[in-house]
Structures are given as C-alpha cells and as structure tokens.
Symmetry: D4
Subunit: 223 residues, 8 copies
C-alpha cells in the first residue's frame, strides 16, 4: 500500500515570494506537529507557527517546546532566530478594545519575526473618539496601519478618513449575538465607505502582517 509522506514544506517559498513557510497549527495532530518540528530542527530552519493553542503547546515534547519562543496570548511560536532588524519605517497596529489584543499581537509578532519595527496602540475604539484623535499624527506618519476590531468594527472607517496611509482591516471574532463570530465586523469593514480599506479574514493577524510586509518590500524595490 503506497502512501506518501503527508507533509511537504514549501521551503523555497521565500525566494519566490519573500515570505517564509509558516505552519497553521489549528487542527493539526500532535503527530503532525512533531513530524514538522523534527524535520525543521534537522535543517535548522527558521519559521513561524500560528494558532498553536496552549494545549497543543503543552503536549509537545520538551525538546520541541524548548526550541520555540511561544506567546500564549497570540498563540504564535517562533522556531529558530527571527530575521535581523530591517530598516523599514514603523508599522502601526491599532486595536479597538482589549479583547482584540490576541489578534493584534499575532500581527505584531509576525512583523517582529521579520525584523519590522512595530508600534501597538490598544483600546482606541470610536465610541470614545478622543482616544483615537490624540494619535492622528502617528497614524499619518505610518506607511501602513493595521486596524484590528470586532463587533461593529467602526474603527477602520474612521481611521481611513484621517490618514493617507495603507489601511489593512482585520475583523475579530470578539462579541456575541449578531457579532456572529466576527462575520459582522468583517462585512462592516468590506462595506466601509472609507476608500481603499483592504480586509483580511476574521482573526487573521498573521495575514495582515504578511500583507504589510508585501507593501514594505514594494517600497524597498523602488529605484
């Protein structure tokens, strides 16, 4: 019975698109994770693990746990040394409420893994508008503003009207009832009347960081 290996890491992805292979751990069995970490360890690879929950992390063999820089709040882990600091302008990661921080931290950790300087600003939801208005100058200076918000996700619409920066919206699954696990925040961001707001999947802080990185890379490639 011919069964091939189940896992095929895309290790030359970096040369192709400038992003390392990353491992989405949600739904992966301990056996799969162990196999991945064994292979990666053998080659001394540097990569990121996302959505690795605390229980999955706890079940890893000690030598694998020791090889990871794990952050429980954002459920991210880094295997190997992060990239050295890059000479990029600082990216801002804005968060509407404290419950959104696990997602904004995932974005920030991913950017830092790639050596990108990041400023996190939390709890600036527009129901208390003054908190945001105090930060307009910082927003206007950043090349990219990642805006993380759940519930009605009104924040990126207001931000988009205050700054010419690239705005990336990340809806979160925060909220109950009609918040519907982030579906309302997602739809509100997509329907935003703030021109040029770009949107990621619910809770996808990792993807937002990759998108920001694509922008920063485009900056660098310019003559």
């Amino acid at each position: 019975m011919s069964v091939e290996h189940d896992i095929r890491l895309d290790l030359n992805r970096a040369s192709r698109i400038g992003l390392d292979e990353a491992i989405l751990c949600e739904g992966k069995s301990l056996a799969h994770l162990t196999h991945i970490l064994d292979e990666a360890g053998a080659r001394g690879a540097r990569f990121l693990l996302t959505r690795l929950n605390a229980m999955q992390h706890a079940e890893l063999e000690p030598r694998h746990r020791d090889a990871l820089d794990y952050d429980a709040l954002s459920r991210t882990a880094i295997h190997g040394e992060p990239h050295p600091p890059q000479d990029y302008p600082e990216v801002v990661v804005l968060t509407a409420g404290t419950s959104d921080v696990p997602v904004s931290r995932e974005a920030a950790r991913t950017l830092r893994y790639y050596g990108v300087p990041v400023k996190e600003i939390s709890d600036v939801g527009v129901a208390g508008l003054w908190r945001l208005l105090e930060r307009v100058d910082e927003l206007r200076r950043a090349p990219v503003v990642i805006t993380v918000a759940g519930m009605d996700a009104a924040l990126p619409t207001v931000v988009g009207g205050l700054t010419p920066s690239v705005i990336i919206g990340v809806p979160t699954s925060v909220g109950y009832g009609v918040a519907s696990g982030g579906q309302t925040a997602l739809r509100a961001m997509l329907a935003s009347c703030s021109a040029g707001l770009m949107v990621m999947n619910i809770d996808n802080g990792f993807g937002a960081a990759c998108a920001a990185l694509r922008v920063l890379r485009a900056l660098r490639r310019q003559p």
Copy 2:
C-alpha cells in the same frame, strides 16, 4: 360563500397607544388602496401612508391623489390634516450619506405629521469626521437623535459616544455586495459598542419616528 371584508382598520389605536393607524402600502393592490381611501375619506380620517411607490400613487383615482400630500422621495403620503404643532423639543435626524435621505425623510415626515419639530442633518458620515464634529452641540441638546446610515453604519457608534441623548439607529439598504440590502448596517448597529443604541428594521424611518414619539410622550406624561 361567506367571505368577510378584507380590511379592518384599527381606528381606536390612538386612544390605546397614542399612535394613529398607518397604512403600509407595499404589496397592496390598487383595489385594496382604493377601498382604504374610500373608507377613510367617508369618515374624514387623518392617517399616514408609507412605502407608497410612485407607480402605485400614479394609478390612484384623481380624487384620491388629490386628497393626499405625497412625497415621492420618502414614498409617504398624508391623508387629512397633520396634527397641529406640539410643544416638544426638536428631534434631530442625522444621515450618513445622501443616498440615505429617502429613509431619513420618511422619519422626518412622520414626525412632522404628528406635529413634532425636526432638524434634518445630512451627509455627516464618519469617513469625513469633521462634518460630524461640527454638530456635537446640536446633538447633545436633542432629546432624541435618529441616526440613519447604510453600508458599514459606523455613524451611530460615534454619535452614541458623543451625546447622552436617546439614540435610535436606522440601517438603510444603501450599498452593494456585502452591504446585502442593509443586513450589514443592521448587524453593525446591533453589535455596536456604543451603550444603549436602539435599532429599527432596515429602511424603517417610520418606525424610528414612532419610537421617538413614544419617548416624547413619556416626557410629557411625567409629573
């Protein structure tokens, strides 16, 4: 074959809940509308017709059209004399964009039918925040602010954080794609983190006015 009359107006509704019978015209045949206007005309009744589209209005018999004060934009018509002006504080009706005006006008026309003073303020969507911030004092003075917005409906969240007034949100069917005929605006308002925001059905300017009227009546009933 015993068939009863199809229409049974609730004419003592006013004494019971302080609101006149109103006729939702959408989906009603010309025969039904004619029957209603004949009955009402015979009794000299005062009432409001909502969602009476231009084609329905044009098909009415001339004597019925003449008996109505019709506004095509809001699709409302008034039969008989409106209520005399009441000594109520002015209600504010805010609109995010010009495409939302048919709905805000329905609210304003309903309030004026009941003799309530109204101020309409349009095109103050939060993607251009300065337009709203200029009006904060007016918002804070009004006992009730009806906030009409489509797409992502971020407006009432911001308004709710700026004033202690009663805030009634009316989502509109303005927008395309994920706006989904107003479902996103509706859900965003319901999920709003602005505490105490109350929400009506999509495009229901009439209902918002009735709600405002219930609030004004409660004011008056206080000792």
Copy 3:
C-alpha cells in the same frame, strides 16, 4: 520593542454621555481582568462588569472577588458602591419565560446599579395570554418597558399594542433548531408590526438598561 499598555479605561465617559465605563468580560483573560481590577481598585472606581462567567469569577484573586457584588445568574458584578437611588419612575422588565431570566436580570441589575427603581415580571409569554392581560395597567403606567423574549419573541408585538410606553425589545438565545441562538427572536422583533418597538442585540440586557437610562435622563433634562 515598544508595546503600550493594552487597556485604556474611558473614565470620563460619564461626564460625556452619562454612563460609566463598563467591562465586557467575555473573552478577556484572567491577566486582563486582574489588571483592570487592580487599576480600578487603586482609584476606588465604581463600575459594572458584564458577562463575567462563573469560571472567570472563581479564578479571580480572593481580594478581587471580595470587592465584587457578583450575581451568577445574570453574570454581572458591581465594583464599588452602586449609585444612590434616583427619583425616576419605575421601569418594567417583562420576561416571556423563565429561561429568559438571566437576560432580564442583567437589565434589572444594571438599572439598579444606576439607582433606578425596577419591577421584574416573569413568565408572561403570549401562548398563555391571560398572564399578560392581568398586567396591562402596570405596563401602561411605566415610562419604559423592557421586553425580554426568545424563540419566536411574540411578546413585544403584543405589548407594543397595549401601551403607549417606550418599548425596548431584547431577544434571547433561548430555544433550539430554528431559534438559531436568538437570530429568529431578533428578526421577529425587528419585523414586528408594533410601531415604534426598538431592538437590542441578542441577550443584551445591559444595553437595554443603558437605553432605558438614556430615556430617563431625557425626561429629567426637560424644563
């Protein structure tokens, strides 16, 4: 690596909109809750915590648990002294069935925190109509009636036709199958033919109380 504090309480909200900062605890980690209670305790602040489930409550440090007046049924906790009793007319909180009581109790507890007198009336669903009809006079006297119902949520439609009061509908997640976690109750309330019924998010008793408070404040501000 510059990371700001994750939590920024909106402590001058009361002066702006007449409502204290409140903490939605669902989804917040123990670390976040502890940080909030530490900060608040240091300043002797008075505030409300909502959706604090029994497990979260049990995990708090004893000194934090001791500082809270916790009610497990409604998952609310009060930090500091509630507001002194206010000279407001009594608000009625109606409930269709006993399973809806956790939500109606959240509304009642929030109102009492603000010093508002409340009467709770339970188990008056319209499948047994006589239970509601006995209470019509009480309903008609109240300036605001908060109506809490799940499943098909027929109660607020009937109530809205019996009284001129301000009616606030709170759908609950009670029920199974097509009840869909409260979506049917929510939609039924929004589609109600009772004019002027205003609606909150599913299970949002806290929001209904804030809305009622906005109404009561408007009463008081009148000359």
Copy 4:
C-alpha cells in the same frame, strides 16, 4: 434522437392519497401550460392551477382562458367543475393583515374547490389584540384553523394558546428588510412556544388547504 414527452400527469393520485393532481404554474412556459390544458381538456379533467400569474393567464389561448375559473388575487384557477359541497365542519382561515390575503385566499379557494366550507377572517394581527379576542369562540369551534401571517408572525402563537383546534401556520413574504421574503415569519412560527403548531412553506396557502383536507378526511374515516 429519442426525447420523451416532458409532462406526465399523476392522474390516479386521487385514489392513492385523496388529492387531485394540481399544477404549479410558476416558471412553466406558455408551451407547457398549453400542452397541459389541451391534454386535460380532452379528458374533461378537474384540477387546480396555482401560482398562475396574471401575465401567464393573459397569454393563454382564449379557449383555455374560458375553460378556467381564474382569481387574480390568489393566482389560482380551476379547470372543470369543483367538487360538490362536502359535509365537513367549517375551516377557519385567519389573516394577520390585508397584505396576507393573496395567500389566505389561495388556501380558501383550494378548500372550496374540494367542497369544504370555509370562513375567512382578515386583519386580526396581534398588535391590535381586541380584533382577535372577539373571535375566540369561532376559533374554538373550528376543527382546523389556518393562520396566515408575515413579518414577525406572532398571530399563530397567540391563536395556539386560545384554542384546542388543529393549527396550521402559513408564513407569508409580506414585509421588508429583515422580513427577508418570509424567512423571519417562517422561523418565528417554527420556533413558536405554542405547542403543536404545524408550519407550511412561505406563501403556501395551497399546501395548508391540502393539510387541512388530510385532517378532515381522517375525521371522516373514523368509525
């Protein structure tokens, strides 16, 4: 190229389940309808056509139009002689609002086609409860009450608590916004806390009449 006839009437259905073949005309081309009426005319068959809209009816050949007893409001047509009057107790068809009458009339016309006595009662929505309470005795006498309602469809829940009769709920597509073409009325009826309420597809007055007929037939078959 072997293509069979497209239409195969189920003419011995009556002997099998006691209901005649009926033709759902919606979406059928003129050619199909003409073919059906030619075949049926040749055999002198008696049957019902449903959802035959005015345009389809107008396009029929005159001899086919003449052979039909057509009712535009309910979009039903009868071909051949209706069944002779049957000695069944009177079925009640209740309607919440006048906009629901096209559907209730479809139910009533179907029952009359089968010779069943029917009483139609319209405009008894529960936002004006007194209209329904006047009719309780009639409701309690009827073996079957067909309840037709759109929007929030609160009517059948109240009816189900007032009478031991068989209650059949028919949601209608009346309403806008969250009414969602009858989905809210449908879900509200299915989630009703009135025990034993049975529900049909949206706008399916024909099906409700067939269901009522199954009940009446069961009565007759009893020893």
Copy 5:
C-alpha cells in the same frame, strides 16, 4: 427591591387547549428545576419534562429523581401518573435512520403520556426503498403519521405520496457539513412537493406529538 417569582406555571392550559403545561428543561438552572418540581410535587401535578439532559437529571435531588419516569435516549421525564389509555386509533412514528430515534422516541413518549397508542417503525430511509414499501398498508391505516428524518429528509415526501393520512414531518439535527444541524432537513421538508405535509422545528418530537393530539381531539369532537 421588588422581584417577583420567576416561574408562573400555566396550569389551566389543559382546560383551554387540551394540553398540559410542559417544561422545556434545556437552559434551565438546577435552582429553577428544583423550584418547579417542588411546586409541582406539592400539588401532585402530572406533567412532562422535555430536553432534560442526563447531567441535569443526575444533579436533581434524589427525591425529585425518584418522582420522575426518566428516559435518557429521548431526554424526557414524566412527573405523576400518565393519562389513562385513550380510545384513539394508533399513531405511527416513522424514522429514517437509527440516529433519529432520540427524536422519534420523544414524540412516542409524549403520545403515550397522553394515553395515545403508538407504533414506532425505524430505519426505513428511502435509500433502501423496500424497507418502506413493506409498510405501506400500516401507513395508510394510521390517521396520523409522524415522519422523523435528518440529512436530506427525503422520507416524508415519499410517505406523503403513499398515504392519505395526516403527515407531520420532524427534521432532525442528524448529519454533518451541509446538514447544518438540521437546517437542510427542515428546508427540504418545507419545500417538499408532497401536498399537505406539515412541518415542525428541528428535533421537536414533542411538538409533533402535540400536533397529532390536536388532530385526534378534533376527530373525537366530531358529531
């Protein structure tokens, strides 16, 4: 602080609509259940409890557990003596697959509580059609056939074409993926082309039994 009792049993429901009060236990706390059983025990009342899961049952005080005839599969319990056997014709409860039995058993247990004779026939899904065709005579003799099916719920459509009986469809939450917790089975039943099929909420075997009882009562009331 005036808080009324939370629970108000509708004990004269039987005289009004011929059905006893029943308690939906899902979502009720132990305190609520205990209060209900105490009150009921004091009056020696006979009633049914539905959706009482094994954990809720196990947590009851021993004296309350002893007072109940509990069936874990259907999650039903009977308090007091069931009604004496009634002289009704036998109702058939059909089930498409064994996974649907918890729901069909709820219907059967409810009918037996009311003294109605029941025949349960399981595992007759139409993917193996011969299993159903063997039972056609039994189906045709029954005044009422309750048909319980999940997944695509094709069973009641076929049954409705084989017998003139009253057909009540109960969709179940059996299945995965697009089965969507019974939503597909529900919609398939409502869209069935079998004329006169009536439908209940997902998993609502109790409601189907109450509906069947309304039919049987109508039979008995005939002269």
Copy 6:
C-alpha cells in the same frame, strides 16, 4: 494607454482535457458576444454557448443568429457542426418535474453536441413513486444517470438506492420560499444518505454533461 484584448479563448483545451471551450453568455454584453462570434466564425470553430437568453439571442446580428443552432428552452446554442455520434452507451437524464426540463435539456443538448446518445425521462418525482419504479431497469442499465430536481430534491436519493450507476445530481432553482433559488435542493443532494451521489452547482446541466463525458472518456481509455 495599453489595454489588451479582453477575450482569450482556450482553444487547445480539447487536447488538454477533452472538452471544447464553451462560452457562458450570462452577463456578457452584446459587444463581447459579437466579438467572440466574429473570431470563432473566422476560424470555423465548433463550440457551445450556454445561458444565452432569448433577448441576447434576438439582439445578435442576423449572420450570427443564422450561424447558431439555438434552443430557447435550455438557452443553449451550438456554433458549427456538433461532434459526430460516438459509440458510447446511452446516458439517462431524469427530471423530477416539468419545470426542471430547461436544466435537463441543457445537459442533454450538451451531451448530443459531443455525440453522446441520451435518453430523457421527465416528471418522475418521488411524490408519485410508481412513475419512477416503472423505469428501474433502464436506470440500472445506464452507466451514468443525471438526476435533475428542485424543491426538496428527494429524487436522486431514491435513484441512488435503486441502481449501481454513476449518479450525478443537478439541483434546480425551481420552487419558492424556502426553496431559495435551489439552495435547498443543493443542500439536500449533498446531505443525501445515498452513498456516492455527486453534485453540481444549481441549474448546471452543462457541467453535469461534462462530468458524464469525463466518465465515458475514462471508460474508453481502459484497456
């Protein structure tokens, strides 16, 4: 301003996957269709056009209309000569009701375009089971049975239990209310308990024919 030609026909698709390029006409402008037909005419190409509605067809230039074999019922047109008849076994296309014939005819016309023999059998919905049971032998002989059904789509489940043939289900948008434009039929087919039933998009008779062709090609390739 460099704008490329908008249309790039995939003319070597046949050599790659054995299927000709086909043109989905829905939503294409007259200009686009004209451009395609001009290009194709110049090369004398043979291809199929699908979802070409009567209005689009009527607006074509006469020389383009003349070059097409158009069938209004199925909205298909053939440009050039169909493929010569192939030595394949006969495919059966089953239809639940006459309203489904536009879709089944699209499948049949596509197969005939490719030279495949087809037998169409209509109006065999399972509410009148005898119509299907008469055809079981034909079903069992066919290598592929395409089953086209709307509403509750119970037909393919029953067919799948009667024959070992390859079964392809095509849901149609026939029906109203919960039929939801074919969503219910689609979901019912996907949730079917008939093992090995494969499903196409709603109304996609063309795709079903292509799938059948892939099966027939696999037969031929076998040694």
Copy 7:
C-alpha cells in the same frame, strides 16, 4: 407497548447497488453501536464504520474493539476482512494541505476496503504551484482523481484544467473565520469554472470513495 427494533441493516444493498451497508457512527450511542456489532458479529458480516471517534472507539467492549481494524486519523473502522484486491486502475487522492489528510485518508481507506488500488498525494495546494505541476502525468493517467481541499479550495479548479480524468471534489472543514466549517470550500468547488467537477458534502471522503467505485464499476460493466 409495541416498540420495534430500532436498527434495520440494509444487508442486500450490495446486490442492489454494489455497495455494502456502512455505519455512520457520529451521534450513535454506545448501546446502538454495541447492538450493531453484536448483530454483525453473529453473521460474520464485512462492513465499514465511519466517523467513529476515538472516544466512541475506546468505550466499546474489548471484544468489539478487537474485531475492528480502527484508524484514528480517519475515524474509520473495518469489521471483517476487506474485499480482495480488484483489478482496477489506481485512483489518485490529492490533498491541498496536511490538515486535510483525515478526510483524504477516509476516502483512501474506503477504497482499500473495496480492494481498489489508491495513491495518496498530500500537500500540493496551489499557493505553491510547483508541487502540483510535478505530478501532472500521474493525474492524467488516473481514471479518477479525488481532490480534497479546505479554505478556498482552489486546488480542484486547477486540477480540472490539467487532466481529462473524472474529478471528484471533497471540501473540508479546515480553516477558520469565513472558511465557516467548510462552507466556503464547498461553494468554491461548486462554483468552479473547471467544467465537469463533481462535488461531495463537506468532509465526506467516504462518499467520494463510493462515487469513485461507481465509476470503476461502470468501467468494468462495459463490453
């Protein structure tokens, strides 16, 4: 009280449609599973159990566990001897990512149970296109390619354009946010512009294998 046995195995299914009875274990109680295994053991039957989770498996009596060849990853178990190897061409089972392997393994195990040779190829998602392009020849040789993918499920569209084989798509519940438990993958496959792609229910690897088997059987039946 007459209650029939709840379980009725369809043991002559094989002779009718060429597929053995299989047991969907999800949602079945231990008692039901035990009853099935007792009956089957007595007759020495060969059959497959699907969606038997690890907890259900662990709770079985040791003699039943011993009689099963259980695979935890795919949640499948085989009772009795698998079918002897058949002289069929090799079926390819493709998987987009490692998280999809539980579903592809279910398909592979089912095919092997029936003696069909299978090649599994994993981790060839189209975001790293080179992994797929290396395998084109294998894809083009296989009579049937089962393509298993979650999230946006772009894989089968690309595969369908590379090979004339029969393509069966199986969406998986892998992913989060808008992935919606596989609904997006399902809809993307159904809407694919790759002609002739056939689709199964979410996570239904078993069904895909049965569909493949129907195709292989059709091959064999050809003269």
Copy 8:
C-alpha cells in the same frame, strides 16, 4: 420647517487623505445627481463618478452629459480633467474571465484618473493555467497586482504564490447558483491560503484602485 441641504461634498478630502471626493451614483435620484453636477460645475471641480448606469447617464441634462467622460462598460464617468500622468511604476490589473472586465475596467479607469500607468490582462483564469504562467515575469515586476475574479475566485491564490507583489483581490458578482452574487468569490479570497492577500467588497474595482494608490503614495513618501 428647517431642512438642510442634503448634500455636503467632502472637498478637502484630498489634502487629508490624498484621495478626491468620489460620487457613488447607485441609488441616487436624477435630482441629486443634477444638484451635484451643478455645484461641481460651478467650482470647476475634478472628480470621479462610479456605478453610474446607462439609464442614469442618459437621463442627465445634455450639458451635464457633455461635461462627463463616460464609460458604459465600467459605469464610470470623469468630471473635469484627470490628474496629469504620475511617475509611478505600472500597476497590473488581472481578470479571470471576460465577464469580470466591467469591474477590472473600473479599477483601471480610476487609476488612470489619478495619472497612474496601468496594464490590463484579461481571461487568465486558472482552469487554463498556461495563460497565467506566460505572464509571471510581468506579475513579479509590478508593485501592485489587482486580481479580479468571480465564481470560485481561485486566481488570486495562485497569483499570490507566484509573486512577492502587493496582491489586492476583488471578487465579482459573476456566476449563478452558489456563486451567490459574488459571496463565494469573496469568501474564497478571504479564506485563501496565499499569505498576505488583501480583499475588497464584491465588484469594488474603485476601492481596489484607491488601495493601490495608497500603496503607491507610501512608496513616494519614503526617504
């Protein structure tokens, strides 16, 4: 009666966020459009109109039509002179099929209005993969690739794996059945496993262009 002007153009938006005011014409009445064009004409303003359908355009007064550069395919119009050509690198706009061109053209027209060089590449859907692979070098050189696709929207996932460029996905409403007006394409893009893909609302070519412009501006602002 105090009614304010309904329209309030945000004319200093350009200085704030670098984007001119643009007018979404869908749903605006002729009166509103006329008012806007009058005001703008008086000030000689330069701006873009989007979703101006052919009927709205035809109804404008001739002087207003003459003042507009209108493109019917993309439903865009330009009032005043476009911005002079800018020294930006060329943006690529990719389209899966010809039916998607109205949306890609809206993006291209918007970019050209702002003086940005654009290359449009059409009909490169991944079901015919060779069409895309020929263009990889162009894709890799572009700083921003706007990818426009309907149905299953597999294109951007493949593109995202081929180039390090900024990738903006625009789902279109092309397709039928489960395509659901673009909802499936939208969800597939959001769930894409191509890291860093950013998504716009359905059919929102205008927004994609504004997003691209924000990226280009960020490039220029770099030291």
